[in-house]
């Protein structure tokens, strides 16, 4: 990938004796769409506020193009933010909101007008210059907030759960649109969300956080397919998490049965946890599988059925488009690649 | 933002010098003798003892009585006024409340001065009475003139808070009370009045506080011999020059009012929520 633009080194943050960030190391690259993903209170917004300059880190370094900026005030950083509830200035119209940053820099009025209309076009609000921002819909306010930030040509755009206030359909549209805008302006986006689907569908890199600690950094596909621990597997998508032990490389044992797999590098007989995604499990005739059970329930979910199969040791969740009657004896089948072996989490 | 936090600093210093220190000085003066020089001060309880002499106790009692009468008058007249206003259309209510508010903004001295020309022995009211063939009445320099002046001055302080709590009352509550079989009197007492208690409490506190400590209206409408707490304090500071005794009276007045506010606030059921 290209050059690092932001580096966090051993960053910690305390609020009144409470440590909300417990040593964050993270590299963010130019043109990257990076998402900080985690449940509320995990510290993701604090990281964003430290990068923006609204909070100072308690310890550690924040480098921007190799220079420590942790003491630089927000108005001197080449970073702009799209706030959670947009924080538009209600006493200014759309044009004046977007032009706010340029007006401060005393840019020529004709240049401002030109840039504002270009920005509004980029976010799909052409001709909205004179509108009252308080009368716009949530989606439109969102777009004004993005235009207001991008017009300053920042190197990095921070977005703090910007889609949280929108309804489901509009959210999908904006996800697509944000990705498009990011490609067009070609800068780094750092996006904070607790919505795993949002994170997976938009990002180049996903950073999963919990309790002020980074749990995993990786591409959406890696995060989904190769979760590093139970928290990540659990937080991202539905999963069956099964305790087992690694007999040797490429052979794992769980529910008392040995399965071939593709994971290596664990100690012999190390206790591990195994993830099986519900959509990776197939329901087959009982005699065609090592793992047998009966259908305990079936629920229609729109595109697929969610079936719970009760085996000797536990219930498995399976997503399939085929219908299976409750009470039917079935076998569960999955390939070697479908088995994801993870290190067992302490605690 | 940490930058903005420092903005309170000027006022911290200001309020310390011009609010806290002066109060402390009153307390200090009230427990010392030695007049106005701080060099030869001596602690004493004499100032407070002096207050309990009959001459001064009478002043306290008279002030209290006058404050009470004014407050009750304002409460009765003001509650009715606020209640009637609250039953007009919203537009009319705004205009009427503005009409009640305007006198508050006009210089109190000028309004009191106007009463003199109305109430004096050869004033307008007496000329009207003579015109009607009635005997003129001496009204100036009596309890009557002082109470009229105080009531006129303080009535808005009662009307506005009561109107505020009546206006925000949900009218469906009254309908609900009727619906549940309450007669108009019960409805008023159990629903309307109960819900307006916060306004009544605030108005009563304001009027009582202002009437018991007033000294201009008693002086102008009551004449020189009409001494209330306020006049007594003024005398000590302006003509007698016993600042220590004056401070003791002031301190007592401030403390008494503070205690009364506390007691009144206890009556207010919404104390924890609003106001």
């Amino acid at each position: 990938m290209s050059n690092k633009i932001i580096e966090l080194k051993g960053l910690t943050k305390n609020f009144d004796d409470q440590q909300v960030l417990k040593g964050i190391d993270l590299n963010i690259y130019e043109n990257e769409f990076l998402t900080l993903l985690g449940p509320s209170g995990c510290g993701k917004t604090t990281i964003l506020r430290i990068i923006a300059g609204f909070e100072e880190p308690s310890n550690g370094e924040l480098l921007f193009n190799g220079i420590d900026i942790s003491k630089v005030p927000p108005y001197k950083r080449e970073i702009n933010t799209v706030f959670q509830k947009y924080a538009l200035f209600p006493f200014l119209n759309v044009h004046d909101n977007v032009a706010f940053g340029l007006n401060l820099k005393k840019v020529d009025k004709s240049v401002i007008d030109q840039k504002v209309s270009r920005m509004l076009k980029l976010v799909g609000l052409e001709g909205f210059e004179k509108r009252d921002v308080t009368l716009l819909s949530g989606g439109q306010q969102q777009r004004v907030a993005i235009a207001r930030a991008l017009i300053n040509e920042p190197k990095v755009l921070l977005l703090d759960e910007p889609l949280g206030a929108l309804d489901a359909k509009l959210r999908k549209e904006m996800q697509f649109e944000l990705k498009k805008i990011q490609k067009e302006v070609g800068i780094t986006f750092i996006f904070v969300t607790h919505d795993q689907e949002e994170a997976l569908s938009m990002s180049d890199t996903v950073v999963v956080m919990n309790n002020g600690i980074i749990q995993q950094i990786g591409s959406p596909v890696d995060i989904y397919n190769e979760p590093e621990n139970r928290f990540v597997a659990d937080f991202i998508g539905d999963s069956n998490i099964i305790e087992g032990n690694m007999i040797r490389d490429c052979l794992v044992c769980f529910d008392g049965i040995e399965f071939e797999c593709v994971d290596k590098g664990f100690k012999e007989n190390e206790e591990v946890e195994v993830v099986l995604r519900p959509e990776d499990i197939d329901i087959v005739e009982p005699d065609k599988s090592k793992l047998k059970g009966t259908v305990a329930s079936i629920v229609f979910k729109g595109v697929h059925y969610e079936i719970i199969v009760r085996t000797a040791r536990r219930d498995y969740k399976i997503h399939t488009t085929d219908y299976h009657e409750v009470g039917k004896d079935v076998g569960l089948s999955f390939t070697d690649e479908d088995i994801h072996v993870m290190y067992k989490m302490e605690n | 933002m940490k930058q903005f936090k420092n903005l309170v600093r000027p006022y911290i210093i200001w309020s310390f010098v011009l609010i806290v220190v002066p109060l402390f000085l009153i307390v200090l003066y009230s427990v010392t003798t030695g007049g106005n020089s701080l060099v030869n001060i001596q602690f004493t309880g004499e100032n407070f003892k002096k207050i309990f002499e009959p001459v001064y106790m009478n002043v306290f009692i008279r002030s209290f009585k006058l404050g009470l009468i004014t407050t009750v008058l304002c409460l009765v007249i003001g509650y009715l006024l606020a209640y009637f206003i609250s039953r007009f259309s919203e537009k009319a209510q705004n205009i009427l409340i503005l009409a009640v508010t305007i006198p508050m903004w006009i210089n109190m001295l000028l309004r009191t001065y106007a009463w003199i020309s109305l109430l004096s022995d050869n004033g307008i009211i007496n000329s009207l009475l003579t015109l009607l063939g009635l005997d003129p009445v001496s009204m100036m320099y009596t309890d009557f003139s002082v109470i009229v002046g105080l009531t006129c001055d303080l009535l808005p302080f009662m009307v506005i808070p009561i109107h505020t709590s009546l206006a925000k009352m949900d009218h469906s509550l009254i309908e609900a009370a009727y619906d549940l079989g309450a007669n108009p009197f019960k409805t008023f007492w159990r629903v309307v009045f109960k819900l307006s208690i916060p306004g009544v409490v605030n108005g009563t506190i304001m009027v009582f506080l202002l009437s018991i400590s007033s000294f201009v209206i008693p002086k102008l409408l009551g004449g020189g011999q009409y001494v209330l707490i306020g006049n007594l304090i003024e005398e000590q500071f302006i003509s007698v020059g016993d600042w220590n005794f004056g401070s003791a009276i002031s301190l007592l007045l401030a403390v008494a009012i503070l205690i009364m506010i506390r007691i009144m606030k206890k009556i207010d059921p919404d104390e924890n929520g609003g106001a």
């Binding site: - | 002066p22 006198p103 201009v216």
Partner: protein, 278 residues
């Protein structure tokens, strides 16, 4: 019901008469040609002439106005920055300062007055214009704080951050974003301070000296004799205050109406847009 309505109209009218008859009488007799305050002998402007030629009154008007203006400006600035600072302060500081701030509001005026009188005399500050001004700032600022602070507290804390994020220095964030947002509170504070200062008698009376007098003090000293000049002065003051109050109270209503009309128009235009978006 109808009967009750008429009764209530009569009652309200009587109360308003109680408020306004003294004021109206004052105004009428300011145009009287004789010195009498009871018999209207004919129209004249001679008391207005007497007013502008009376040195004491003219200088008192000057003192009242200049003190009201300076005290309003200072206490508005001081009160506004304090209110903004308070919203970001620690709880202890906040509670303490708000309590201290309440003292001049809750304390009887006369107690505030003598406390300041004692302060000035024990600090050996000669009583006069400056002490009167300081005292006025002292009792106006708490009202500014109480009218501005709730507005500051209801602000989205991210607004100031947003301004700084877009390149505003803290001072620019203050003047370009926070102050415009809390304008209604500031205006209320200005209005309160100005009238409180302009009308004040008790505190001015105790802290002044050296013959410096404002309107209230002059009136207080003149009431011993009948003096229609005071009526003329009253009339002018009343007219100015009533006009100011009417403008202040009616202006927001007019602006609001206009905005609503605008909102309606915008709503109609927006209709199609919102439809397609959903």
């Amino acid at each position: 019901m109808k009967k009750g309505k008429i009764g209530s109209i009569i009652y309200v009218a009587l109360c308003l008469a109680f408020f306004y008859i003294p004021i109206i009488v004052t105004m009428v007799f300011s145009f009287n040609s004789s010195k009498s305050l009871t018999k209207f002998t004919g129209f004249s402007l001679k008391w207005y002439e007497a007013l502008v030629t009376d040195r004491d009154i003219v200088s008192a008007v000057g003192v009242s106005l200049s003190i009201a203006v300076i005290a309003t400006v200072v206490s508005t600035i001081l009160g506004t920055i304090t209110a903004i600072g308070l919203s970001r302060s620690r709880r202890v500081v906040k509670e303490w300062l708000l309590n201290v701030n309440n003292i001049p509001i809750m304390n009887p005026e006369i107690v505030t007055a003598i406390s300041l009188m004692i302060l000035f005399s024990s600090m050996k500050i000669e009583r006069g214009y400056v002490t009167m001004l300081l005292a006025h700032i002292c009792f106006c600022t708490p009202y500014v704080i109480t009218s501005v602070y709730p507005k500051v507290r209801s602000l989205d804390p991210n607004l100031a951050n947003a301004a700084m994020d877009l390149g505003a220095t803290p001072f620019q964030a203050l003047t370009k974003v926070i102050v415009p947002m809390i304008k209604p509170g500031i205006y209320a504070g200005v209005l309160l301070s100005f009238t409180m200062s302009f009308d004040d008698f008790v505190i001015s009376y105790f802290v002044t000296g050296n013959g410096v007098a404002n309107i209230s003090i002059i009136v207080y000293n003149m009431t011993k004799r009948t003096n229609p000049t005071i009526n003329a002065l009253s009339t002018i003051v009343i007219i100015v205050i009533v006009i100011t109050l009417l403008v202040v109270n009616l202006a927001p209503a007019i602006v609001k109406k206009r905005q609503e009309r605008k909102k309606k128009a915008a709503g109609l235009e927006d209709g199609s847009l919102i439809e397609t978006e959903k």
